[in-house]
């Protein structure tokens, strides 16, 4: 049995990974040790070297670990299993049967690119957030070999099962069928970046810059000479804000480019393969059979233009950005009316556009009533401490009432034989589509006040990676809530059929 080693570059990659973790302590040490003293005659010179000596030792240690990790890591194929062995003092072995492997995910960093290598994460159905086996750097050919071995092993296994049933073995040559479902060009990327939830980033940017500049803003003058400052102060403020906006927008465009460059979704043998990335190429595989539900998210910037984001809830591990939640970004940006067409051949069981039943008009107060519980004390405090201008905060009530009304307009649900669709809004309008056989549990909720107005909310939970992911049809008619419960129940339905 020939045992393979990872490519030597993995030692270097390990080293940089270790370095990344040490970066913060390093910076702290350098700052606290009083910076760098160059003059050897300075009395501080020798003492200032001691921390740097520690740094040097730590650096060599990290490098050593990196090399050892590479030297001790072996992998090979045996008995239809992928086996790995690693560790210096404690030898660890891990055997993963090929049939249990759910997906091979590829990543390419800058180092990988230089030597035409890939990092391979091998994932099984197990409930762990990390990949079962992670090969830091191997050649493309080796990666293909693993894939080939896996396919052959799976085929052999099928043959054995057929044998036992005493039937003729039909050697079925699997034709690799592949078709592109979705790809994004540069125009899409810019649109994606400029309409993403970057509002938060923009705000943070403005605040950061503002806190730097505020020292130079003549506040005292502002109070004294309101009339003259109206022209100067506002001009300064406006230009600062404008600059902040432009800079953050550029950064977010750049980041989107790096992350989503060449974004492509391909369907192949019952799997969806997502590839993306400029500096670091990422390849994520989602087995179609593991998909639990679809989420269509329309944020307020995109909805007016008919654009949306499509996420899938998958029972296997998520992509790098959200490992635990396991929502995978299937279409980062897509025209709302194109979704149905694009999903039609991959996930034909999902009906995207169905007529929906809305929440009744009398439920509107429930969408903001609870918010008022904490908003009113805030308003009272603001009005008291910042009288009289604090009184303007009363407008918050109006804002929350309008937001509640907006949320009410989005709240709706639909059921057919096996599919449940729930639409809701916090700020973005989210449509969650799920099938009965993927729902783990259903919960109807009704408060005393809701009972009096004869409305109730119904939530469902599906499996999502490590845990669950929920969606709730808010404040719908009680009678509809009952209908949803009966729809989900098996026994009562059977009674009707008999």
């Amino acid at each position: 049995m020939f045992k393979y080693r990872l490519h030597p570059v993995s030692a270097l990659i390990n080293f940089f990974k270790g370095l990344k973790e040490l970066l913060l302590p390093f910076i702290i040490i350098i700052i606290t040790s009083g910076g760098i003293v160059i003059n050897p005659n300075d009395p501080d010179f020798w003492p200032s070297l001691i921390p740097k000596l520690f740094l040097g030792v730590a650096l060599i240690f990290v490098l050593y670990i990196g090399v050892v990790k590479w030297r001790t890591y072996m992998y090979w194929f045996e008995d239809d299993e992928l086996r790995v062995e690693y560790g210096l003092f404690v030898k660890k072995k891990r055997y993963v049967p090929f049939e249990r492997i759910q997906s091979l995910n590829y990543k390419e960093g800058i180092f990988h690119r230089m030597f035409k290598l890939v990092a391979v994460d091998i994932e099984t159905a197990g409930n762990s957030t990390e990949a079962e086996i992670s090969l830091t750097a191997i050649t493309r050919e080796q990666a293909n070999r693993i894939e080939r071995e896996m396919k052959e092993a799976k085929k052999r296994l099928q043959a054995v099962i057929v044998d036992e049933q005493g039937m003729e073995i039909v050697a079925e040559e699997t034709v690799v069928r592949e078709h592109v479902i979705h790809a994004m060009d540069k125009k899409d990327l810019i649109l994606l970046a400029s309409t993403s939830g970057g509002v938060g980033v923009v705000l943070a940017g403005i605040l950061a810059i503002f806190s730097q500049v505020s020292a130079y803003i003549p506040y005292e003058k502002i109070y004294k000479e309101i009339s003259s400052v109206v022209s100067i102060g506002f001009a300064l403020l406006a230009s600062v804000i404008a600059a902040a906006f432009i800079i953050t927008w550029l950064i977010s465009v750049l980041m989107t480019f790096v992350n989503y460059y060449n974004f492509k979704v391909v369907e192949q043998d019952g799997k969806m393969i997502i590839t993306r990335g400029l500096l670091e190429k990422k390849r994520t595989t989602i087995p179609l059979s593991r998909i639990q539900g679809i989420r269509i998210v329309e944020n307020p910037l995109r909805q007016p233009f008919g654009y949306a984001t499509v996420l899938v809830e998958s029972a296997s591990g998520g992509d790098d950005d959200n490992k635990i939640a396991s929502k995978m970004n299937l279409f980062p940006l897509i025209k709302r009316n194109e979704i149905a067409g694009k999903l039609a051949h991959v996930l034909p069981q999902y009906t995207i556009d169905t007529p929906m039943t809305s929440s009744p008009k009398r439920a509107i107060p429930f969408f903001y009533r609870f918010d008022l519980v904490y908003v009113v004390p805030i308003i009272a405090a603001l009005s008291y401490f910042f009288y009289p201008y604090g009184l303007f905060s009363i407008l918050l009530i109006v804002a929350f009432m309008l937001l509640g009304r907006w949320q009410w307009r989005s709240a709706a649900f639909a059921i057919d034989d096996s599919q449940l669709t729930i639409r809701s809004r916090f700020l973005s309008r989210t449509t969650f589509i799920v099938h009965k056989n993927r729902i783990q549990s259903m919960e109807a909720r009704q408060s005393y006040f809701e009972q009096r107005r004869d409305v109730a909310s119904v939530g469902v939970t599906v499996m999502s990676g490590f845990g669950g992911s929920s969606s709730t049809a808010m404040h719908i008619e009680s009678q509809h809530a009952d209908e949803l419960l009966s729809w989900f129940e098996r026994e009562r339905r059977d009674e009707i059929e008999q």
């Binding site: 783990q440 549990s441 909720r445 408060s447 009972q451 419960l485 026994e491």
Partner: protein, 159 residues
């Protein structure tokens, strides 16, 4: 809303919850006493005594008397061949349906207080959620666990 599930949890649950409430109140009272002494020693505002003794009082009213009573009256469960239905809640009544096919495992747990009253909690786990039926008579809890795991095993996948 439709009829609630058929079974109530053990009457003794009420006693256990009242014991929990009493423990909580006792702790609050102890803290309150310490704070009251400190208030006297350092001449803090005497109004603070309202907080130090008011909180244990509220705790006594709510977590010993009112909440256990409401909660016990609300609690209902029903284990049927194809699903488990549970109803609970204090201010918001929650009705949960768990299909038998989705049940992955059932645990029975019993703390020292529950043990004294011969009660046990059952928790039912699916791939994504965990649901608890609290304070069942130990024997019933064990039987129920047996029954659920049996039903869960025979329940057919409806794909």
């Amino acid at each position: 809303m439709r009829n609630p599930p058929a079974f109530q949890i053990a009457r003794k649950a009420l006693t256990v919850w009242r014991v929990y409430g009493s423990i909580q109140t006792a702790i609050l009272l102890l803290v309150g006493l310490v704070m009251a002494i400190l208030t006297k020693m350092f001449d803090w505002s005497p109004w603070l005594h309202i907080i130090w003794f008011g909180l244990p009082m509220l705790s006594a009213i709510f977590s010993i008397y009112l909440f256990p009573k409401l909660r016990w009256e609300r609690w209902r469960y029903e284990v049927r061949e194809q699903e488990i239905e549970v109803q609970h809640g204090l201010f918001v009544i929650k009705r949960t349906l768990i299909p038998m096919v989705r049940v992955q495992h059932v645990d029975v747990a019993q703390g020292p207080i529950l043990k004294r009253y011969d009660l046990a909690n059952i928790s039912i786990s699916t791939a994504a959620t965990t649901h608890e039926i609290p304070a069942l008579i130990t024997k019933e809890a064990d039987e129920l666990r047996q029954r659920i795991s049996l039903l869960a095993r025979v329940a057919e996948e409806d794909v």
